[in-house]
């Protein structure tokens, strides 16, 4: 039976509130629709700070630091929204879009100049598109004979006659992944630009970047950098935040004011929180999968259902993961097959008897044409070995006494999920 909303109406599959690609939105543009995002305390605090700065006119110079999928771009969008609410504008520069043309068309030793040129062009085009500049305004580039880039940008922004302008540089690390650039050059460019903008209190600069870049800045010139930019480190969501996140999303569709977590069951939240590692993009990916896969046949998603769905979708990664585990902790082939079969079962507290039933229907070649008796013996050998390995405690839980029962922990599911990135 399909999911139902608060009025017992059927919830159509298309109303899945989660996004399969995981990213909440990828480009900082004003296309008029801002998807509902879940505001954590961190986001709220940061936005309050931005609002306050806009109100009292202190400069905004933010560096958002976080890993892929932590919600940097989402945050940039939220900040841009604050500017727009004040009749301001946001000029987005997404470096991912700049790097390929620059890399393709220029010599490596000219990469820095080309990037600066590309930034200027991007900003100009964005303003033309917004109707704030016209083609005639290109004249500012000619007025100055030896163009001072900071002056150029400043003059360009002045012509918009806007009090609140946000320049949003998204994915700064993209530059360094493809182009030949000195980290110091880009940093000093950002500093000079932000100093120039400081002359106008409502103008701000916001940059998003991954952790590696931050660690590099910190190890290079600490005092200088820290004083000028306001670094905001984005961390993964805590368990309680994952719960709120899911409640907000689910109840936005079901309209339920109690049991906001429906159609997910309580234990599923713990599963999602562990497997996603609290990373918003992964929370999205996993929830999307669970919501969609369970929808046709279940009233709600129980932990058993979640594990089964997961096991169906990620079997190939599981087998790679168990291979790695085996080769690193000297597990026998029997043990490897045991773990694969346990993952295939998707179940909890599985006994060897229960696993044995699955041996013919599972796609694990180890069990191919193995007699019941042999399979049973090998599973027994494996289980003995697995129980003795202290390294496996965080992935395998053992219950009871002979007959023992086995569960792969949520953290094993997390490892398998993150293995997607390694193969």
């Amino acid at each position: 039976m399909p999911y139902q909303d608060v009025k017992k109406n059927r919830i159509e599959p298309a109303r899945n509130p989660y996004n399969a690609s995981g990213s909440a939105m990828s480009i900082v543009v004003n296309d008029g629709k801002v998807p509902a995002i879940v505001r954590t305390q961190f986001i709220n605090e940061l936005l309050d700070e931005v609002k306050r700065s806009l109100r009292i006119g202190t400069p905004i110079k933010l560096f958002l630091v976080g890993e892929y999928g932590y919600g940097k771009t989402t945050l940039l969008n939220c900040i841009a929204e604050e500017f727009r609410n004040k009749q301001g504008i946001c000029i987005p520069v997404k470096f991912q879009e700049i790097v390929t043309p620059v890399a393709a068309s220029t010599n490596p030793d000219k990469h820095f100049e080309s990037v600066i040129g590309a930034i200027l062009t991007k900003m100009y085009n964005a303003l033309v598109k917004e109707g704030l500049l016209t083609k005639q305004d290109a004249v500012i580039f000619e007025e100055i004979e030896y163009i001072d880039i900071y002056d150029g940008i400043f003059k360009m922004l002045e012509r918009t006659h806007k009090h609140n302008i946000l320049i949003a540089f998204d994915e700064l690390e993209a530059l360094f992944g493809t182009l030949q650039l000195k980290i110091g050059y880009i940093l000093s460019f950002l500093h000079s630009l932000s100093e120039k903008l400081a002359a106008k209190p409502g103008w701000g600069l916001c940059v998003s970047v991954t952790e590696e870049y931050y660690s590099q800045i910190m190890s290079e010139a600490r005092q200088l950098q820290e004083a000028r930019f306001n670094f905001k480190i984005i961390n993964q969501l805590l368990f309680s935040e994952v719960k709120e996140y899911i409640e907000a999303k689910n109840s936005s569709v079901t309209l339920k004011t109690t049991d906001k977590i429906y159609p997910f069951e309580d234990e599923v939240i713990e599963f999602i929180a562990t497997v996603s590692g609290g990373i918003p993009r992964y929370v999205e990916t996993i929830c999307q999968l669970l919501w969609a896969e369970a929808e046709p046949s279940y009233e709600s998603v129980s932990i058993e259902t979640a594990r089964k769905i997961f096991s169906n979708s990620y079997r190939v990664y599981a087998s790679a993961y168990f291979s790695e585990l085996s080769s690193n902790f000297q597990l026998s082939d029997e043990s490897k097959a045991f773990l694969n079969l346990l993952f295939f079962s998707g179940g909890r507290r599985q006994s060897i008897q229960e696993l044995l039933v699955l041996k013919d229907s599972c796609p694990i070649s180890y069990f191919d044409r193995l007699s019941d008796e042999k399979a049973k013996y090998r599973l027994k050998t494996a289980s003995k070995e697995l129980r003795s390995k202290s390294e496996l405690e965080h992935i395998l839980e053992v219950f009871g006494k002979s007959p023992y029962r086995y569960t792969l922990t949520n953290s094993a599911f997390k490892d398998i999920f993150s293995f997607r990135e390694r193969i």
């Binding site: 493809t178 030949q180 000195k182 790695e324 690193n328 405690e393 006494k401």
Partner: protein
């Protein structure tokens, strides 16, 4: 001088029980052993049916006392001011009087007061024993010798070990199951030695740097430093241990694009075809 390995007992297969026993010793530090004994009674249950009693029955006082004697053999507490190894033990069966006043060694005290997972508890206890217990140290040394010189396999029959220890290592008596438990310590120690030692090295040398840079440390930097220090530590060991640390959730390996590495001036380390620039130390690991 001849050495002996007495007959002694430990619930080494059940780390949870080992922990409870350690807690019992620490909670009654400074008291007669009797106090620890009565503290522990009822807190431990049997794992296998024994003499018609099903698994799950509370352990008898004798069993617990035997285990506590086993812990004494490991030198992790003093009885009446003396460690087991200081008493020049002659008896082939470990024993200790319930009247003896016990005094646990400091590292054990610290261990019991922190709430580690069973797994890390086991590792820590192994570390403590391999640093403070004479019997574990001797055994490990001799066992390694047998492994190298006499090609003793990684998991030999215990009777074979007993025989070789007496033949080649100057033991006058080797009792089972005592030697069996020491063998488990030995194997745990090898595992612990490997990847945890690497972690210790990393935290010691780069912990401070890591704290300032979100836990990130350039992996090539660690490799270069460790290579100049450990003569028989190869790059292959290093890579394997990194993977083991990742699999046990102590670090994360971060893939890095080569151009990015170029720009920021770090080297990449290739582990099975994947290029890593950084490791990220995961919090609990650096707090150890």
């Amino acid at each position: 001088m001849s050495k002996i390995i007495p007959v002694f007992y430990l619930p080494k297969e059940y780390p949870e029980d080992m922990r409870i026993l350690v807690q019992g010793l620490v909670a009654n530090n400074g008291q007669p052993l009797k106090a620890a004994l009565s503290w522990l009674e009822g807190k431990l249950v049997t794992h296998k049916p024994h003499k018609r009693k099903p698994a799950g029955t509370p352990m008898s006082a004798t069993t617990i006392k035997n285990y506590l004697a086993g812990f004494y053999v490991l030198d992790i507490y003093k009885a009446d001011g003396q460690l087991y190894s200081e008493t020049k033990p002659e008896k082939t069966r470990a024993s200790i009087s319930v009247q003896s006043k016990i005094e646990v060694i400091n590292p054990l005290d610290n261990l019991a007061k922190k709430s580690y997972s069973v797994e890390s508890f086991n590792e820590k206890l192994t570390q403590i024993c391999s640093q403070h217990s004479q019997i574990v140290q001797d055994y490990s040394k001799n066992r390694f010798l047998l492994y190298e010189k006499y090609q003793l396999s990684e998991t030999p029959e215990i009777s074979k070990v007993q025989e070789l220890l007496i033949q080649h290592c100057g033991y006058s008596y080797v009792g089972n199951p005592g030697v069996g438990y020491l063998d488990m310590f030995y194997r745990d120690k090898i595992q612990v030695d490997n990847y945890l030692n690497l972690l210790e090295f990393i935290v010691k040398n780069y912990g401070e740097v890591a704290q300032k840079s979100l836990g990130l440390v350039p992996v090539a930097q660690i490799r270069d430093k460790i290579m100049t220090q450990g003569s028989d530590y190869t790059e292959e060991h290093f890579k394997k241990h990194l993977i083991q640390l990742q699999l046990t959730h102590r670090i994360e390996l971060r893939t890095t694009k080569s151009q990015f590495a170029n720009n920021i001036g770090i080297d990449l380390v290739d582990i099975r075809g994947v290029k890593y620039g950084y490791i990220k130390i995961i919090e609990p690991a650096s707090a150890r």
